[in-house]
């Protein structure tokens, strides 16, 4: 133990360094490895070729989420490549003894939804997954980050990773969110401020009264999109909100072990006097609903703003990039986005597909109808979220409003499973990426919160949910 004040990140980092030889990256121990069907097959092949086994199957958890359909379970999967990836994962998990939340499991879901939901995600842990949104788990005060397939193989074989120590950044959000403004708007505003490369090389800790007052699902939304600002990991120090969420989850400690764990978890905070390499501040009182207009998540603005003009951008490359984005999006500088017609509304993804998100959208849709020109897909983040939502009657609200209520999965967030936009279509999406073609070749994405998505579904065009709320 050292007496120097340390940040939350440094505490977890120090606690997991196995070896750190001078000049080399640290060997970092990994507590939990999450695996899915799309980025893992080549890693298992690598193990087989080298004659290696999985070192800690009981610290590994697998599911299928990226390519699977969200149609009713009685409709057979037709995509031969998806079938192949599913059966490969099944085979790999059987052969190497890894627990799998498979197609028939009531625990299946998006990997970043099920980890926390099962209580596998816990404070103070190191968590990795072959997926850049692994930062989601940082909401519990874990150091969680995405890795590539070579690194998946490293963790499977050794339960460790070679890592250069990142720098630390504090993003402090004080104040109180106004009605109609959500956790999604916080993170979209953060990314618009720091830019999509602003967090490169950093681990972010989100602090401040506005972050503290978020529930766990909202904290996950914030941490989830850290990578959209370039940061591999984002985290929030654990507190009573965290412990209440985790209590009695199937994989969380139970009984006396729980009390012991909570006592340890309470130490997981940045010490007074510890310093970050960089600090960024935002005031929640100033935030409004946010929406993106371009082809990366940093191209975001207040929903009432007008689309920026490339002519106002001094740097040549930045100007060309903005022009390219507006050309792809088919948008005119100086015009508002409010009122822009929308073809599809997607409520889902590891950013916004948990019960709280569904409730927010349902609160807008209750007693209202999705506009006739709009297709709205509601894709719960996991089978557990789906079951709970149905128990609470949310499915009926969505169906009565005219939305599609589907099985869980990544769905139109990544458009690998047939849920996708047609070329030229516009979507308001609660997912995390508006890259060219992300939701289907030629598709155009406006990223926003579940409240904004629901309001836009009703209006048939980009809408400000606060107007609806004021008319209530």
């Amino acid at each position: 133990m050292t007496n120097t004040p340390r940040t939350l990140f440094e505490k977890i980092w120090d606690d997991h360094v196995v070896v750190h030889e001078n000049g080399n990256p640290a060997v970092l121990y990994i507590d939990l490895h999450l695996v899915h069907e799309v980025t893992s097959p080549q890693a298992f092949t690598g193990l087989r070729e080298k004659g290696l086994t999985v070192r800690r199957p009981s610290q590994t958890l697998a599911t299928m989420d990226h390519g699977i359909p969200t149609t009713p379970p009685n409709i057979p999967i037709t995509d031969a490549m998806v079938i192949n990836q599913i059966s490969q994962l099944e085979k790999n998990c059987t052969e190497f003894g890894i627990p799998l939340m498979g197609m028939d499991s009531p625990n299946r879901g998006i990997v970043h939804v099920i980890g926390p939901e099962l209580g596998a995600t816990q404070p103070g842990m190191t968590i990795v997954c072959g997926d850049s949104h692994t930062a989601t788990h940082g909401a519990f005060g874990a150091l969680a980050f995405g890795i590539g397939t070579s690194e998946i193989e490293h963790v499977l074989a050794t339960q460790s990773l070679l890592q250069q120590k990142p720098k630390s950044m504090e993003i402090r959000v004080d104040g109180t969110l106004k009605p109609g403004v959500t956790a999604k708007d916080i993170i979209l505003a953060v990314i618009a401020k720091i830019g999509i490369g602003g967090g490169t090389g950093y681990v972010v800790e989100y602090t401040g009264s506005a972050i503290r007052s978020l529930n766990m699902e909202e904290r996950m939304t914030v941490c989830n999109m850290s990578i959209e600002g370039g940061a591999r990991a984002g985290m929030v120090a654990p507190d009573d909100t965290t412990f209440e969420f985790l209590a009695n989850r199937p994989l969380a400690p139970q009984g006396a072990a729980w009390d012991e764990a909570v006592a340890q978890w309470r130490q997981l905070r940045t010490d007074d006097g510890a310093t970050y390499d960089k600090t960024v501040t935002l005031n929640a009182d100033d935030l409004t609903p946010m929406i993106t207009y371009g082809t990366n998540p940093g191209m975001g603005m207040k929903i009432t703003d007008t689309i920026p003009d490339p002519a106002d951008v001094a740097d040549v490359s930045a100007r060309q990039s903005l022009q390219k984005a507006l050309d792809y999006m088919g948008l005119q500088p100086g015009k508002p986005l409010l009122g822009h017609p929308v073809d599809v509304v997607f409520l889902g993804s590891c950013t916004n597909s948990r019960l709280h998100d569904l409730w927010q959208a349902a609160s807008v849709l209750k007693g209202r109808k999705v506009a006739p020109n709009v297709r709205m897909l509601v894709v719960p983040g996991s089978q557990r979220v789906k079951a709970q939502a149905e128990a609470e009657g949310l499915d009926k609200i969505f169906i009565e409003a005219g939305a599609e209520w589907r099985e869980s999965g990544c769905s139109m967030c990544i458009a690998m499973n047939g849920d996708q936009l047609s070329p030229g279509q516009y979507a308001v999406s609660t997912s995390n990426r508006n890259f060219e073609g992300r939701q289907g070749p030629g598709g155009r994405t406006f990223l926003a919160s579940p409240l904004t998505a629901a309001a836009s579904a009703v209006a048939g065009a980009v809408a400000d949910v606060r107007v609806l709320m004021n008319n209530e």
Binding site: D15, Y29, P57, V82, A120, G130, S150, S160, G197, T200
Partner: protein, 201 residues
């Protein structure tokens, strides 16, 4: 992994900033279960027209770009998804060196594990490389990894940063898993003093 020491190759420039890995290799090509054959789908949505024919406006499709093995790309190259399919596709297409003013973290890590060298240069050098590629598509430059230098056609030499470990692995064609496995005894020791935090079985 092929070692990479000194390397001379022809450059090609895609100046767009923030090229994400969805552009490098779109999600529809992630349904494979091996690493091979991704080169033909590199930059798919930019490279091909909706009817499947090559887009004549895209730089990699131009006759004068053929044979280029060094890609000069805009800032923050490789942002977004962690898919290692992106460096697999770039390497399968024939690229050995990537030059930008900045790379996304995960992409950079993934590239280094596939014998693909990310070279970070200052804005001035970057601009110069871009203009060279546009003015003379036959421009060739030399990368000297042991000395961490890049030599422009006019003889000017620019230094670039790389951490000593990644450099050692690339220069000698070493797979990092080997190094990690040498530390298995220490990993076992660690496990003895650190109780398992979660049991998934």
């Amino acid at each position: 992994m092929n070692p990479l020491k000194t390397y001379t190759g022809k450059i090609v420039s895609i100046p767009t900033e923030n090229i994400d890995t969805d552009q490098i290799i779109p999600a529809q090509f992630l349904k494979v279960t091996d690493k091979n054959g991704l080169g033909k789908n590199l930059f798919f949505n930019w490279r091909y027209l909706p009817d499947g024919s090559p887009n004549p406006d895209f730089v990699l499709n131009r006759a004068e770009s053929q044979g280029a093995t060094i890609l000069v790309a805009g800032d923050n190259f490789g942002c977004g998804s962690s898919r290692e399919h992106a460096p697999w596709a770039l390497a399968a297409f024939g690229f050995r060196v990537l030059i930008s003013t900045g790379f996304a973290d995960i992409f950079r890590n993934n590239s280094l594990k596939n014998g693909l060298l990310p070279v970070i240069v200052d804005r001035e050098t970057h601009r110069q490389l871009q203009s060279l590629a546009e003015e003379d598509p036959e421009t060739r430059i030399t990368i000297d990894l042991p000395n961490q230098t890049l030599t422009l056609p006019d003889g000017r030499t620019v230094n670039f940063p790389i951490d000593p470990f990644s450099k050692h692995c690339l220069v000698n064609g070493i797979d990092q898993l080997g190094y990690l496995r040498e530390h298995l005894p220490a990993i076992e020791e660690y496990e003895k003093t650190h109780p398992q935090r979660v049991k998934t079985i």
